[in-house]
């Protein structure tokens, strides 16, 4: 019974995120969202599972593919659409857009569009927390491409050396823009993390928000109480193109069969009963959020030079 309730909650949250991004796809041709969007469709379960197990005061450091994490950690939806629309009522007054989402009150710290560049921020925040003797956990979320950055290696080393409460979470969708993992990596993600003394786990079922919740719950508590960093790789699948609202299977760099196989296991593609149970109320929430964005003012000259230094 408990499982069923939790399952429905997670399903609803994952569906909510997917429907937000489907709305973005629908709106994109209108050119009201005039900035790049990196969609998480196919990867929602990672964000939903992780964030369902984080405390409000646990901080999450994300990247340019950040809609799912922003929403899953509690970032407000109307302000998200306003931010995408470049409106003054966006949480960052339209200065951030899709690639730099943040909601500090919910513990969503800044998202960077330079791959791998916020991983070390999680480590630094954890260091400050350790100095003050707190029991918070800091999560750095990044893709498989980010693990090739030197900054990632530096962060793993420092976090392990100083026994910092960091969960390094790699969303492995096997692609860096259009380059496959095989073209890029001579190392194993988990063995590499272990070489720094960071215990590493892999979850292959990244479509399953319940499995993600379970492993994140376990690892977050281990990080919190052992005060040691851990690494978690979650295999996932990006259904859409790297950036933009479309699919790009005709480009030839990936096999549509892999995505089809993934969709065959994706609860959001399978569970029609829950889909119809939740779709209508989520649609209403999204429509209200879009309306809020539509009706909001644009930032102007008075905002151009505020918050520079």
């Amino acid at each position: 019974m408990e499982f069923k309730i939790e399952y429905k909650k997670r399903f609803r949250e994952a569906l909510r995120i997917r429907m937000v991004e489907q709305k973005i796809i629908e709106l994109y041709p209108l050119d009201k969202i005039q900035s790049p969007v990196h969609l998480s469709i196919g990867q929602e379960a990672v964000a939903v599972g992780l964030c369902s197990q984080m405390r409000l005061d646990d901080w999450l450091f994300i990247n340019y593919r950040g809609h799912a994490f922003y929403l899953a950690k509690g970032g407000p939806m109307p302000e998200l659409f306003a931010e995408l629309y470049g409106k003054r009522t966006g949480l960052s007054k339209g200065k951030a857009g899709s690639m730099h989402l943040a909601a500090p009150n919910q513990g969503v710290m800044g998202a960077s569009a330079v791959v791998g560049s916020t991983i070390s921020h999680a480590v630094g925040a954890a260091l400050a927390s350790k100095i003050r003797g707190e029991d918070r956990v800091f999560v750095a979320v990044f893709g498989d491409g980010a693990t090739e950055q030197g900054a990632y290696h530096e962060a793993l080393n420092f976090a392990s050396l100083h026994s910092l409460p960091v969960l390094f979470l790699c969303e492995n969708n096997g692609l860096a823009v259009h380059a496959s993992l095989l073209e890029r990596q001579a190392f194993s993600l988990t063995r590499h993390a272990e070489a720094y003394g960071v215990e590493a786990k892999t979850l292959n079922e990244g479509f399953d928000f319940m499995r993600v919740s379970e492993i994140c719950s376990d690892l977050l508590e281990q990080v919190r109480f052992k005060k040691r960093p851990m690494f978690l790789e979650i295999k996932t699948c990006r259904y859409m193109e790297h950036v933009g609202p479309g699919e790009d299977f005709d480009a030839g760099y990936r096999d549509i069969a892999e995505v089809r196989a993934w969709k065959d296991k994706d609860p959001l593609c399978l569970d029609d009963t829950l889909l119809s149970e939740f779709s209508l109320e989520i649609s209403k929430e999204i429509d209200a959020a879009v309306l809020f964005a539509e009706n909001s003012p644009y930032p102007g000259i008075e905002d151009l030079l505020t918050d520079v230094i």
Binding site: S112, S117, L127, S129, E154, N157, I309
Partner: protein
């Protein structure tokens, strides 16, 4: 602290000790805990504050990011780089992240923190241990970039930056001055800790100088006084936020501008000073602007070349005299060319 004799290094030590008294301060960098302690400026602090004085792996980019994260979480990190050249390794975090954190997120975040970068010069520091990179960073909105030229400036601006400024500050310190002793003389109560100040009043020529070149401008000015030339010296101090009115009003008064920077000339401090005058009112100039800086090449290691590479007092006197007299052959005998290291005799390698 006027009338107190103090070395540049001692002022840095005072600034660091004072900073550590605040439980928010985190002093982090390569060598902050070792027996040399960044030339004595951090010595003893690791013993007193073991949790907040942190030696680092050779991971400049990672550590800069760690500083941003710690700052977001309430600390005030001070990150040291014993050569500014090593600071190039943090430019992603510094320019793409720290400088933009406040603006890019519409004011949701502040990242107060400080990077100390030491410029090496002379005694064979060569191409990668001697660069003055202030112009690169002065170009970037969101950063405060300072070049303190004396102990008073250090104590005042480090304290102010730490306790009042809510964003990233880059301090370019000059290795050549570390062992020099200064006597306090400026009334610092009235000086903006984050902007330019008058080092010496004069009537015939304005020299805008940075860092150690302020000292050289003062020596040149002492020499020129004997020939009836009175130089006004502006210690630029702030690369990112120079005092435009102070600079313009001085040039309006003297009609002549010489810029003496520690770095290369193109697109640098000299170019920016010229822009300030050119955009406000170039008709105040009685002569074209002159500029002195490093030669347009990487820094050579051999002393014979290094001495030719950097401008010295003789060059400043020559440029000043021709500006004031309006003639290339001004008739004022130049002082004997002498490398700064030879003159100050305080800086001897290898470190």
């Amino acid at each position: 602290m006027s009338d107190i004799k103090m070395k540049y290094r001692e002022a840095l030590s005072v600034a660091m000790s004072e900073a550590m008294e605040d439980p928010k301060t985190l002093l982090i960098g390569q060598g902050v805990t070792d027996f040399k302690g960044i030339w004595g400026t951090t010595t003893g602090l690791a013993q007193k504050y073991p949790n907040r004085v942190i030696e680092t792996p050779l991971s400049e980019d990672g550590v800069a990011g760690i500083c941003i994260g710690a700052s977001l979480n309430g600390m005030y990190p001070i990150n040291t780089h014993i050569r500014a050249d090593f600071g190039l390794l943090i430019f992603n975090q510094l320019i793409n992240l720290a400088a933009k954190y406040r603006y890019m997120f519409g004011g949701l975040f502040e990242v107060p923190l400080m990077f100390r970068m030491v410029i090496g010069r002379s005694w064979g520091q060569g191409a990668q241990h001697s660069q003055s990179l202030q112009s690169l960073l002065g170009h970037i909105p969101g950063l405060v970039v300072l070049m303190p030229s004396n102990p008073q400036s250090i104590v005042q601006s480090y304290r102010y930056a730490r306790s009042h400024h809510k964003g990233p500050v880059v301090m370019f310190e000059h290795r050549l001055m570390y062992e020099l002793e200064f006597e306090g003389k400026i009334d610092f109560e009235s000086v903006d800790p984050l902007s330019s100040r008058i080092e010496r009043l004069g009537t015939d020529l304005t020299i805008v100088a940075t860092s150690v070149m302020v000292l050289e401008a003062v020596r040149a000015s002492d020499y020129l006084n004997r020939f009836g030339i009175h130089v006004e010296i502006i210690d630029l101090h702030s690369i990112s936020h120079p005092d435009h009115n102070l600079i313009f009003n001085s040039v309006k008064k003297t009609g002549r501008l010489l810029v003496v920077d520690t770095s290369w000339i193109p697109y640098g401090v000299a170019a920016e000073m010229s822009r300030i005058i050119a955009e406000k009112d170039p008709s105040v100039l009685k002569q074209p602007v002159r500029s002195l800086g490093m030669q347009p090449a990487p820094c050579p290691t051999a002393k014979s070349l290094e001495d030719l590479y950097y401008p010295d007092v003789s060059d400043i006197v020559g440029a000043s005299a021709s500006l004031v007299t309006g003639q290339h052959s001004h008739g004022i005998p130049l002082p004997v060319k002498q490398a700064m290291t030879d003159f100050y005799k305080h800086f001897k390698g290898p470190f």
